[in-house]
């Protein structure tokens, strides 16, 4: 599934998660902002991890060379 599609999926998941946290624990503006920050940070971290591993495999310089006995 291409890079952009999956990035879009990540951002949609992030938006849904922040909406859920706003619905489930609505505890005043300061706590809401904290929850939003946490959700955005988590989404960004997870996306970065996935994107790094994905991009690294797009045009690899080496290929798997099977070892003996496989």
């Amino acid at each position: 599934m291409g890079f952009l599609v999956t990035t879009l999926i990540f951002s949609v998941v992030g938006i849904i998660a922040s909406i859920c946290s706003r619905i489930c624990c609505n505890r005043g503006p300061s706590a809401n902002l904290l929850h939003l920050t946490l959700v955005i940070t988590a989404t960004v971290c997870c996306w970065m991890m996935w994107a790094i591993v994905y991009i690294a495999q797009m045009k690899p310089l080496i290929v798997p060379i099977l070892s003996e006995g496989e």
Binding site: M1, A42, M48, I52, Q57, K59, I65, L66, E68
Partner: protein
């Protein structure tokens, strides 16, 4: 830019980001309501008192007598607790909650109880000693009786010989009966005996000593007592021996008595007449049973008293502790000039002021005082304490951050981001979704049993583990995510997200072991392709991937740190810091390491063969040279030259302007006041806490050196901190290799055999190795390194950490070990 700044300003503030606003307050309390006011404030727990009597010793303070009384009462309560534990009643007592008792009444009750208990204890001691002595006497009677019967027979034979020699001239003896003759001969020959009981261990030496002392003129008979007896003096159970010593002569008697005393043998008189023995035995037995009854009654009485004390014990202990803390706090207050009021100062959060005022009003009303308590805000000279309102979840993270240093008042709190980035970096080093599931189970168990475990007393390791249960939960969730990305389940890859992107070149797979597979479609959609595991080129590929990943994550986190320093500078309205610290720092870091990250991404996207080490090194050594094979994009050479120049400019930019501008600002502010004062304006004793302008000396060289250290630290730190993030690669490699070794060399090896026993042993070894080495040691290791990355590499970009924590006077925070 300005709209963004307006947007940032209009965002509602996040409580956890900066410390609660604190204010210094002054309380003027009339004496009659002082105790009550402080108690109510203790229940509220939102005011930190300042110690106004810090120079005084504990014995010079006002309420020292009350503190001593509280200390005496807690000593008595400890004594009661010891007695209850000794009597073994602790588990059976269920505390009863009753309305509070006044302190004076409690004191009287406690001393009464103590008196009663001490009396009961001494009485039962005496009774017990008497009981033990009588027991010994009974055993001596029993055993010695048998000796005397047999020895009388012996004595007869010996006496016959003696009597012929000694009493040949007593002719009237022949008329008396045989028994009388024996008696008289026994008396007249002076053969007497001493009977007693001695510890078995000393019996041999005792006998030898007696032998030597009487020069062999004695007969020693002994018999073991048969059972262990309670020694009356030492109250321990020892094995004892009953002995009877026959001797003649008065001197021998005194010697033997002295030796008995020295060896701790107890002597009891045993009559030689059999009927008298029986009579005395009967008397002793009856007395023993009487004593037993008395002792039992005594113990029951004691237990009843202890139980009734035990019902109230926890309540009393809490009360005494509270009172002591109230008096300690009252000792921190000062008497004012009229000696009718106590003056106190303290820090409280601004949101709590209403609650505190309400508590003080209640205290005034409850103590029927005519005068209200005055509560007003003062200006503060020193920096307020830092107070973050945390809940169960954020508390653990705040403690992690505070362990390095408590935030300065109102500076940005790294805990907000640490909540996510700390478990995330842990997971990057731990990534295995099998191990992650194990950690998740552990964390869920701890959270599910929250209410039960929080009331128990735990060891220090369990307590740390329990306190960090939410951290563990997030760590495990992120570990599962990273494990799915690294595609490792106990080091085994799965094809969860579809087929591999690699296949053989042709149908025979002939060159799979030499030239390798080829990539025939889009990369594996989520994570590392499963074909890599076990291949010969796995390590070169994964090492390259993970090293570059570490650099990218590191540069991202460091940029976040520098941006937080921007927000700090904005908050404190320090435009100097923004212009001459934030901007050059961003430029320096990003023109070098941000550029490196860009190169990494471009190399990955284009699949170029360029050598990034070469590119970076020659960017510095010979920036104008032609790049040749290492050219990744058009315009790279001029861009590199520009970035290098920017970095070179940024260094003096962050070093020089700030000290000079600070000097100029300082001289503008204190224009014309550079000479010393005639009258000392600043008198700290006159009005405590009022704000005065400090006429500080501006030491230019100190400021310049400070700025130089800061700049050098940043410049050198940029290189070393970026390299430090490579530990993310190192630990994840170690984890993956350990996991592989345990899987392949233990589990697979054992599974290869057909024998069920070997398979079970292999499974057991695998389970133990996974649990102890991977789950415990690696968790601790990754935890530690993630912690270091946060404390050093992230926080030294913006965190000062030189504040102090808000410790309010609160009854809830009084711990057990204040006793």
């Amino acid at each position: 830019m300005e709209t963004m700044e307006k947007f940032i300003d209009n965002l509602s503030s996040m409580d956890l980001m900066r410390s609660e606003k604190m204010s210094l307050v002054q309380l003027i309390i009339p004496v009659e309501s002082a105790h009550r006011a402080v108690s109510y404030l203790g229940e509220l727990g939102l005011l930190q008192f300042r110690d106004l009597n810090a120079e005084k010793s504990p014995f010079q303070r006002t309420f020292v007598n009350q503190v001593k009384r509280c200390g005496e009462m807690s000593r008595k309560l400890r004594f009661f607790k010891d007695q209850i534990i000794k009597a073994g009643l602790l588990s059976s007592i269920h505390p009863v909650v009753e309305p509070d008792v006044e302190l004076e009444e409690l004191e009287i009750q406690l001393s009464e109880h103590e008196h009663e208990l001490i009396e009961m204890n001494s009485n039962s001691e005496k009774l017990r000693q008497t009981y033990n002595e009588l027991m010994e006497f009974k055993i001596v009677l029993l055993k010695a009786g048998s000796f005397l019967v047999s020895s009388n027979n012996h004595a007869v034979a010996e006496e016959m010989e003696l009597s012929e020699n000694v009493h040949s001239n007593h002719s009237y003896d022949e008329a008396s009966s045989l028994i009388e003759q024996e008696m008289r001969t026994a008396d007249q020959s002076g053969l007497r005996f001493i009977s007693g009981i001695i510890c078995k261990s000393k019996a041999l030496r005792f006998e030898r000593m007696l032998f030597r002392a009487t020069r062999g003129n004695m007969l020693f008979n002994q018999a073991p007592a048969g059972e262990e007896i309670m020694d009356p003096l030492s109250a321990e159970k020892v094995e004892k021996t009953v002995f009877v010593v026959f001797f003649s002569g008065e001197q021998a008697r005194t010697k033997i008595l002295k030796i008995c005393e020295a060896f701790g043998a107890h002597c009891y008189p045993v009559p030689d007449d059999f009927s008298k023995q029986r009579q005395i035995t009967r008397e002793v037995s009856s007395r023993l049973s009487e004593l037993e009854v008395t002792l039992d009654a005594g113990i029951r009485h004691q237990n009843k008293a202890l139980t009734s004390i035990g019902y109230h014990l926890t309540q009393w202990i809490t009360m005494v502790r509270r009172e002591k803390s109230v008096y300690d706090t009252l000792n921190m207050l000062n008497f004012d000039v009229t000696k009718k009021c106590l003056v106190g100062e303290g820090w409280c959060p601004i949101f709590a002021k209403a609650k505190i005022q309400e508590a003080l009003q209640r205290a005034t009303v409850d103590s029927n005082s005519q005068v209200g308590i005055i509560f007003h805000v003062m200006d503060a000279l020193e920096s307020p304490p830092t107070y973050f309102r945390t809940n169960h979840f954020t508390n653990a993270y705040q403690e992690i951050v505070d362990a390095y240093g408590v935030a300065r008042y109102q500076e940005a709190n790294p805990a907000v981001y640490t909540v996510i980035t700390f478990p995330f970096l842990f997971a990057v080093m731990f990534g295995d979704w099998g191990h992650g599931i194990c950690l998740l189970l552990g964390a869920l168990v701890l959270i599910a049993r929250e209410s039960r475990i929080s009331t128990q007393k735990l060891g220090s390791f369990m307590e740390m583990l329990f306190g960090g249960r939410y951290v563990l939960l997030l760590m495990s969730l992120f570990s599962i995510y990273c494990g799915l990305i690294y595609n490792e389940f106990f080091s085994v890859p799965f094809h969860i997200f579809g087929g591999s992107a690699y296949k053989c070149r042709d149908a025979t797979c002939s060159d799979a072991h030499s030239a390798g597979l080829i990539k025939f479609r889009d990369p594996y959609p989520f994570g590392v392709d499963p074909s890599w595991r076990g291949s010969r080129s796995e390590l070169p590929f994964l090492n390259s991937l993970k090293m570059k990943m570490s650099i990218l994550l590191g540069v991202a986190q460091m940029n976040l740190g520098i941006i937080l320093s921007y927000f700090n500078a904005r908050f404190f309205h320090n435009s100097l810091d923004i212009r001459y610290q934030f901007v050059p720092q961003m430029i320096f870091l990003n023109s070098l390491f941000g550029y490196l990250s860009l190169l990494i991404i471009i190399k990955w996207c284009t699949g170029s063969q360029a050598d990034l080490y070469h590119v970076m090194i020659y960017m510095f050594l010979s920036p104008t040279d032609d790049l040749g094979d290492n050219e990744l994009f058009w315009g790279q050479r001029p861009l590199q030259i520009v970035l290098l120049l920017l970095a070179l400019v940024a260094v003096p930019w962050m070093l020089f302007p700030k000290p000079f501008i600070l000097k100029k600002l300082h001289s503008e502010r204190f224009q014309g006041r550079n000479y010393g004062m005639l009258i000392s304006e600043f008198d700290p004793d006159a009005e405590p806490g009022s704000a005065r302008e400090h006429h500080e000396e501006f030491n230019f060289s100190e400021v310049f050196v400070h700025q130089m250290i800061h700049s050098i630290e940043f410049v050198l730190g940029a290189v070393s901190n970026t390299a430090s993030y490579l530990r993310l690669w190192a630990l994840s490699l170690a984890h993956s290799e350990l996991s592989t070794v345990f899987y392949e060399k233990v589990l697979l090896l054992a599974w290869g055999y057909d024998n069920i026993v070997i398979r079970l042993i292999g499974l057991a070894v695998f389970a133990f190795a996974t649990a102890f080495i991977l789950l415990m040691m690696e968790t601790l290791s990754a935890f530690l390194h993630a912690l270091r990355l946060h404390w050093v590499e992230f926080q030294n970009k913006f965190y000062q950490g030189d504040g102090y924590k808000f410790k309010p006077f609160s009854f809830a925070l009084i711990t057990d070990d204040d006793d």
